[in-house]
């Protein structure tokens, strides 16, 4: 417990960063780039309906400078290291993530939701991820520099996200302005049959 306090992991932003980097996604990858950890934690906060990290709507949608600063601190403290554009936990970081998991601050339901956020989002491409987040949280489109480009290929992104199992047919239909059933009947399948 002392080490958790020593490294400031009792702060939600810092603790969540360590925890999310300790989780393997559906492709068994733990590493995350800046965009993916920002969006996964944004999604997680919505999933648990409790905001502990401050986000503002910036060029790439919901972004937290608090998360960015804390990630830099974790790197300086030797709990995280960077490989290319991705962040991974060091051995010490993994040990502290394990302690955090056992602490009373994180209930099993909270951890499960954090795991789900990473499971849902971490293997999407940057563009798929941005499209998903802008559409799921329309308030984050406000200051976007990318949304207008992405929306031009709306149909393609919706189909990809649906085929990857990241949205259901109701959401796909809503985003395309059609009934879910109509979406399923018009989905291109020529590559599959």
């Amino acid at each position: 417990m002392t080490e958790i306090l020593d490294y400031g992991l009792d702060s939600p932003a810092r603790g969540l960063l360590v925890l999310i980097l300790s989780i393997a996604d559906r492709t068994k990858q733990k590493a995350m780039n800046k965009l993916h950890f920002q969006k996964a934690i944004y999604y997680f906060e919505n999933l648990k309906s409790e905001k502990e990290v401050f986000f503002s709507n910036f060029k790439y949608g919901g972004v937290s400078f608090e998360l960015m600063e804390n990630m830099e601190t974790l790197e300086e403290s030797g709990l995280v290291r960077r490989v290319g554009t991705k962040y991974i936990l060091t051995t010490k970081g993994e040990q502290l993530a394990e302690q955090l998991r056992k602490s009373a601050d994180y209930k099993s339901d909270t951890l499960r939701k954090l795991e789900y956020a990473k499971f849902l989002l971490n293997d999407l491409t940057d563009k798929e991820l941005l499209f998903f987040m802008y559409m799921t949280f329309p308030e984050t489109q406000v200051n976007s520099i990318e949304f207008k480009n992405l929306i031009e290929d709306k149909r393609a992104y919706v189909e990809k996200l649906f085929a990857k199992g990241r949205i259901d047919s109701t959401t796909a239909g809503e985003w395309l302005g059609m009934e879910p059933r109509h979406f399923l009947e018009t989905l291109s399948t020529c590559d599959q049959k």
């Binding site: 919505n46 999933l47 648990k48 309906s49 339901d109 939701k113 795991e115 789900y116 499971f119 799921t136 649906f162 085929a163 990857k164 199992g165 990241r166 949205i167 259901d168 047919s169 109701t170 959401t171 809503e174 009934e179 879910p180 059933r181 399923l184 009947e185 018009t186 989905l187 399948t189 599959q192 049959k193």
Partner: protein, 161 residues
């Protein structure tokens, strides 16, 4: 067994595969349910055989608040209603074809299968002949309705094993 069906699986089995009579026979051995939301979505179809839906008992599930977060806090998805019923106790298996719902069930350890799984069950219990299976395969592959490649490959295995 008890099964609760999502809209896409009802469409695949009743409309695309035209398995009304076989499903009726299957329902004598198993309890088949749809939620009121799925019933509503199915009835929206232009070619819908409304009488066929009588094979299923319509249920009004208690909507699961914890599950709602995974649907972005919206109750509009038929899958949300299906999975709500599936995880409400009573040992009911969700029948879903959409990847999202199947992934979510897998993640939350909720029992699930899909329309292809039901076809396999019907085959194993003698409700479908080899000729029926080949016809079903042709109907699904010639339809415009989306099923993932994984599910289509599974159908091939069932037909040819």
């Amino acid at each position: 067994m008890k099964y609760v069906f999502d809209t896409s699986s009802v469409i695949v089995l009743l409309e695309i595969c035209a398995l009304k009579e076989q499903l009726r026979a299957f329902s004598a051995k198993h309890s088949l349910y749809v939620s009121s939301k799925v019933r509503e979505e199915f009835m929206d179809g232009r070619k819908t055989d409304r009488e066929a839906l009588n094979i299923f008992s319509v249920v009004q599930p208690i909507l699961n608040k914890d599950l709602l977060a995974y649907f972005n806090h919206k109750t509009s998805s038929g899958e949300f209603w299906t999975i709500s019923y599936g995880c409400s106790g009573g040992d009911c298996i969700c029948v879903l074809d959409d990847g999202f719902g199947r992934n979510l069930c897998q993640f939350l350890n909720i029992k699930y299968t899909g329309s292809i799984g039901i076809i396999n069950e019907m085959k194993n219990e003698g409700f479908l002949s080899r000729k029926d299976l080949l016809e079903i395969r042709g109907k699904i592959r010639n339809s415009n309705f989306y099923l993932s490649k994984t599910l289509l490959d599974r159908l091939d295995e069932i037909c040819f094993q």
